[in-house]
C-alpha cells in the first residue's frame, strides 16, 4: 500500500532524527512506506543521554510500554552492529535497608506480571558480583533483560536500514499545520502524514503543548576495566525521577564497554542553560560515592548535560493531534525515550496504518494535553 499523494514529499515526513524519529522511520519503512526524515542538526537528548534500556514500573502504562519495548530491543539487538555498543548487562536495583528490600519485593511482583524476569540477590552475593559497592547494602534486585545501548550510533544505523525507503535531509522546520510543514529555506512540504519526533524542538512548533524540560547531568570517567558489571541504580531512583519540583539527584551508574563508568543522575526543572552546574554535579557525585566509596579517587574526563522532555503525567504523547488531522506526535519521553523508542514507534505505526495496537494506547493519547478540548477545565486526564 502507498499513501503517497502526487505532490507529497514522502508517505510520511518525520521531523527529528534522534532515536525516536529514527525508530519511527525504521518501523514505518518496514511496512513499505517511503519516509523523509528532516533534522536541523542541533541534536538533542539522544546524543546526551545514558542509553540504559530499562523496564520502569512506576505505573502500569509505563510498565506496559517499557516491557514491550525491551522485548522489541531483544529481537533487534542481534542485528545491531558493534558501533551501537549494545550490552545485556542487566540492572541491579540496590536496596540500602529493610525498607528498600520491601520496595524490591513489590517491584519484583509487578515485573513478573508483565513477564520481566528478575532475581533477588542477597547481600553476600551482591558483594561478590559488584565488589566496588559499599559492603553494607541489604541486597539487590537483578532485572535480566535490561541492557545498554549507544543511542546516537543506533539512530544512525536505523536510518540506514529498509532498503533505501528512508531519506534523511538536513533542514530546519519552522512551522507545522496539519499535514504541511514549513522549512526555513524551501517553503512548504506536504505529506499524507507528518510526525513530530523533535524532542525539545517541539516547544517552538507547538507552544500550547505542556512540555517541560528536565535538565540532567552526566559524567564519564577514564578507563578502569573490570570495575563494575551491571547498570547500578538505587531503589530510591523512581522517587527522585518523578519528584515534581526542585532539584534531585540519584545514584545511577553504567559500565561502558570501554571500561569507563558513566555516572548519573540529576533532575532540574525549567532551565534551558546547558552549562554544567557544579553544585548539582557535586551533589550527584556525592550520592554516587555513597554507594561506590572508591569513586572519589577515579579520574573524570568529561561532564555534560542534557534535557529530558516531560509531559505533566510523565507519559509520552503518542498519536494524532486531536485538532490537526495529518499531524502526529511522538513527544515527551522524559528520561526513558531510548528504551521506549521501539514500543512507541510500533504504537505509532499501528495507529497510522489502522493495525491493532500492541498494547493499550489510551494512557498515551494526545488528547490528554493537546488540542482545544484539553484546555477546557476538567477535560484533561
Amino acid at each position: 500500500m502507498s499513501l503517497q499523494a502526487r505532490t507529497a514529499a514522502a508517505d510520511v515526513v518525520i521531523v527529528g532524527a534522534g532515536i525516536m524519529g529514527a525508530m519511527c522511520a525504521y518501523e514505518l519503512a518496514s511496512r513499505g512506506l517511503s519516509i523523509l526524515v528532516i533534522d536541523n542538526g542541533t541534536g538533542g537528548a539522544t546524543g546526551a543521554g545514558m542509553g540504559h534500556l530499562v523496564v520502569m514500573d512506576d505505573n502500569p502504562a509505563e510498565l506496559a510500554l517499557s516491557r514491550y519495548s525491551i522485548a522489541l530491543w531483544n529481537t533487534l539487538r542481534k542485528r545491531l552492529p558493534e558501533a551501537c555498543a549494545y550490552r545485556n548487562c542487566g540492572t541491579l536495583w540496590l536496596a540500602a535497608n529493610d525498607e528498600e528490600c520491601g520496595l524490591a519485593e513489590a517491584k519484583q511482583a509487578r515485573l513478573v506480571e508483565y513477564g520481566a524476569q528478575s532475581e533477588w540477590i542477597s547481600a553476600s552475593a551482591l558483594r561478590q558480583l559488584e565488589p566496588m559497592l559499599r559492603p553494607d547494602l541489604a541486597g539487590a534486585l537483578k532485572v535480566f533483560d535490561d541492557g545498554i545501548l549507544y543511542a546516537p550510533a543506533t539512530a544512525r544505523w536505523l536510518l540506514h536500514q529498509q532498503d533505501g525507503r528512508i531519506t534523511v535531509q538536513e533542514g530546519d522546520v519552522t512551522r507545522v499545520e496539519g499535514n504541511r510543514l514549513c522549512l526555513s529555506e524551501g517553503g512548504w512540504l506536504t505529506a499524507p502524514a507528518i510526525l513530530l519526533a523533535n524532542g525539545l524542538g517541539a516547544f517552538r512548533l507547538l507552544p500550547d503543548v505542556p512540555l517541560r524540560p528536565k535538565k540532567g547531568h552526566l559524567l564519564i570517567t577514564d578507563r578502569y576495566p573490570a570495575c563494575i558489571n551491571h547498570q547500578l541504580v538505587e531503589l530510591g531512583y523512581a522517587a527522585s525521577a518523578h519528584a515534581d519540583d526542585g532539584t534531585s539527584v540519584a545514584f545511577n551508574v553504567q559500565p561502558r564497554p570501554t571500561g569507563q563508568l558513566l555516572i548519573g543522575s540529576s533532575r532540574q526543572f525549567d532551565t534551558l542553560d546547558k552549562r554544567v552546574e557544579f553544585d548539582v554535579l557535586g551533589r550527584m557525585l556525592m550520592r554516587a560515592q555513597d554507594y561506590l566509596p572508591g569513586l572519589g579517587e577515579l579520574n573524570a574526563i568529561r561532564g555534560w548535560t542534557g534535557f529530558r522532555v516531560a509531559t505533566p503525567d510523565g507519559l509520552p504523547l503518542l498519536g494524532q493531534h486531536p485538532d490537526q488531522p495529518g499531524l502526529w506526535l511522538a513527544l515527551g519521553h522524559e528520561g526513558l525515550g531510548v528504551t521506549t523508542a521501539s514500543g512507541s514507534a510500533r504504537l505509532i505505526a499501528a495507529q497510522l496504518l489502522g493495525e491493532a495496537p500492541p498494547f493499550d494506547p489510551a494512557p498515551f493519547r494526545t488528547e490528554r494535553f493537546v488540542g482545544v478540548a484539553s484546555h477546557t477545565p476538567g477535560a484533561a486526564a
Binding site: G43, L219, F278, D279, L285, G296, E297, N299
Partner: protein, 421 residues
Amino acid sequence: MKNHKTLSCDIAIVGAGPAGLAAARAASVSQRSIAVIDDNPLPGGQIWRDGPQVSQLAMAKDYRRVLSLPTVRYLPGTRIVASLAAGALLLEDAQTSYRLDYEQLILCCGAQELLLPFPGWTLPGVTGAGALQALIKSGASVAGERVLIAGSGPLLLASAATARAAGALVSGVYEQTDRYQLINFGVGLLRWPGKLAQAFKLFSTRYRWRSHVIEAMGDRRLEAVRIRQGDAEAVIACDRLACGFGLVPNTVLAQHLGCSLEDNAVAVDRYQQTSQTGIYAAGECTGVGGSELALVEGEVAGLAATGKVEQAQALFTHRAYWQRFARHVKEHFGLRPEIRRLARVDTLICRCEDVALSVLAEEQGWNAAKLQSRCGMGACQGRICGSIARELFGWSLPEPRVPLVPARIETLMACSEKDMS
C-alpha cells in the same frame, strides 16, 4: 572535603612561561596579591623548561625570581579543572583541590605543537619536535641514537641542537617549506639581528628544504622513515623521529571562560585584554610569536591589569617590533597542501579512541564525528585530534567540556553547595 582549600588573590596568572613570569613581575610592583598557576612541576614554560639536563640562561633565572616574592603564591603542578563562576577557578594538584577566587585573570597558556598524521605517526619512537626537546630536558637519554627531525618551522633547528647537545646523531632536519621561502626568511631576518645570529648558531649542514616525512616504519617501534626530498624518495634507518608542523595557540581555557577567538588565537585589545572584562591574555595563546614577544606581551598585561596604563603604552613599539617578527615566521612556513594529505585511510587521527581517517572523512563536522565515532572523547579531550581535524577538514575546534583536564571525582565533589559555603 578533606583535601579541599579555598584561596584568593587579586591577580591570577595561568602559566609560568615567559609571558606568565613577565606578567607576574610587572604586576608585582603594585603590591597586589598574585597567584601563578602552572601545570608543569617546574617553572619556565616551553622554552625555559627546567629539568635535570638543563642549565638555565641568566635571563630565565632572573625572571623566575618573581615566584619567590612574598606577595606571589606559586602553584606548580596544578591543573585548572574548570571555571566555577565569574572570578572563581577550580584547581587540583596531586593531593589537593582548590577554589581560587580572583579579581583579574591573565591567561598565559602558551602554544602546543601541531602534529599532523602520517602513516606510522603513532609508533613508539615518533614524537613531536618540541616534545623531543621536552623529553631530553626532563632526563631521557638519547646519546648515540639516530634521530631524524622533520616538519616545519624554526623549532626544528632548536630541537636538532638540543638533541645534538645530548649526544644524539642527528641524521637530518627535513623542512617542508621550499628554498625560495627559506632564503626570503633568512634575508628578512636582517631586521631582527639577534634572531639571525641565533639561526646561524643553530643552522646545520644537514638541513633539507622541500622535504617531508611520508611514512614512519617499524614493527613494534620505529625502525626507519620514508622521506620525500624534492622529487626523490629515500628510506632512512633511525631510532627516533621528531616531527612537528609548527605551533597552535592553547585556547581551551580562554574558550571555556567565554573569550572570543580570532584566527584560532585568543583575541586581545592593545592592553592585552580579552573580550571578557578583567581577563587578559599574553604570550603564544594570543598568537605564536616566540619568547621575546611573549615577554613584552606579558609585561603589558601585568601593567594593564594593575592600572599602569602609561607604562603599558610605553611598550607598544617594542611589542610591534616582535609582532612583525611573528608575521615574518608565519608567512614563510605556511604548510604546502600535500602535508595535509599524508594520512592514509587507515591512519589513526584520534589516538585516544583509535579513530581512523576513513571514519572521520565521512562526517560533516566535529559534533557529528564526535557523536558517531567517539573521536576526541578520550582523555586528551580532543586537544590533539581537534587541531588535526581543523587542519585536515577545516572543522572548527571542539567546544571545551569540563573538567578541562582529567580530574579526580573528589575534586568535582568539592563543589557541591554543602561544602562550598
